[in-house]
């Protein structure tokens, strides 16, 4: 939850901005999020604050699970926005 919070809000703001430029459809924003969220995770955790992974690793999560959580949230978000 804490891990995703950092990614979610920033990714959403960027996705809305890009989505608005591309026509403003909700499904477009959802598509943007699928691409933006992994980039934000890569920047925030793999480049800028790599050591912060250890907080989550010490809770028993591994890198793969954290990446899967980001993609899962992105796909659920896309599904919801496509259905609205």
């Amino acid at each position: 939850m804490l891990f995703q919070k950092k990614i979610f809000f920033l990714s959403y703001i960027i996705s809305i901005a890009i989505g608005a430029l591309l026509g403003g459809k909700l499904s477009t924003i959802g598509f943007c999020y699928v691409f933006v969220a992994p980039i934000i995770q890569y920047y925030a955790y793999e480049i800028k604050n790599k050591n912060q992974y250890y907080y989550y690793l010490n809770l028993g999560l591994n890198n793969i699970e954290l990446w899967i959580s980001t993609f899962t949230i992105a796909l659920i978000n896309l599904l919801i926005l496509s259905l609205i």
């Binding site: 939850m1 804490l2 907080y55 010490n58 028993g60 591994n62």
Partner: protein, 227 residues
């Protein structure tokens, strides 16, 4: 008893063997001190045991559980890295709440060093304050074995003494493997000392062996004895 057992651990970089067929064993209530020169592979060894670094070969087991990766070590091994690892923009109170069980978080909420920091965010803390929060978080986690990689980085002498006493007080419940560049800290804490050199671990019984191994000079050793 669930002993930590590390066997056949080998790691090489660019055809240079850093860790060569390492054997290591630790039980609850024991503190093992790991010392060695810069670049000898101490941190790499701890990361491999924790599961974040790949080895050429390794066998890590706690009790009956074989630890192949971080997930397998959940509630069994925790690792304190050299550098600060707490997420920014989150209050220390929240980080403690998410990390620890209720019983253990109350201990930290009532700790004299933690109380003034509870409502601050990680980035507002000094390096030493961050370190004490991290050490206490890791020590009070549910894990049976704790790997501490240079825990005294950036910590003032009075806090260092507090941490040493704290670990000694807490040692009955867990097993510890600790590295530090200041070998005196490790000697003060550890029940047994292992010296890592050229990929091999050697058990150290007396400080003078460290002179023979080229880790200390006679001057270092005498100065330390005087203090």
């Amino acid at each position: 008893m669930s002993r930590l057992h590390v066997d056949s651990l080998t790691k090489s970089y660019n055809n240079k063997v850093i860790l060569n067929d390492i054997f290591l064993s630790c039980e609850k209530g024991q503190i093992i001190g790991l010392i060695g020169r810069n670049g000898s592979g101490k941190s790499t060894l701890l990361k491999i045991v924790f599961g974040t670094e790949k080895a050429d070969s390794k066998f890590v087991r706690i009790g009956e559980q074989i630890i192949k990766n971080v997930s397998k070590g959940r509630n069994l091994i925790n690792y304190l890295p050299q550098d600060n690892f707490l997420p920014n923009n989150v209050k220390i109170r929240t980080l403690i709440t998410l990390f620890l069980s209720k019983e253990n978080r109350d201990i930290l909420f009532n700790n004299e060093y933690i109380i003034p920091l509870l409502n601050k965010q990680n980035q507002e803390l000094s390096g030493g304050e961050k370190r004490i929060v991290e050490i206490l978080l890791i020590i009070h986690s549910n894990s049976e074995y704790i790997l501490l990689d240079e825990p005294f980085n950036g910590v003032s002498p009075i806090v260092k003494d507090y941490i040493i006493e704290y670990i000694l007080k807490m040692k009955t419940d867990k097993g510890y493997i600790i590295t530090d560049h200041d070998y005196e800290n490790v000697f003060n804490l550890a029940d047994s000392i292992l010296y890592l050199q050229n990929g091999y671990l050697k058990k150290i019984n007396e400080k003078r062996e460290l002179i023979e191994l080229g880790y200390l000079t006679k001057t270092n050793c005498h100065t330390a004895n005087k203090t």
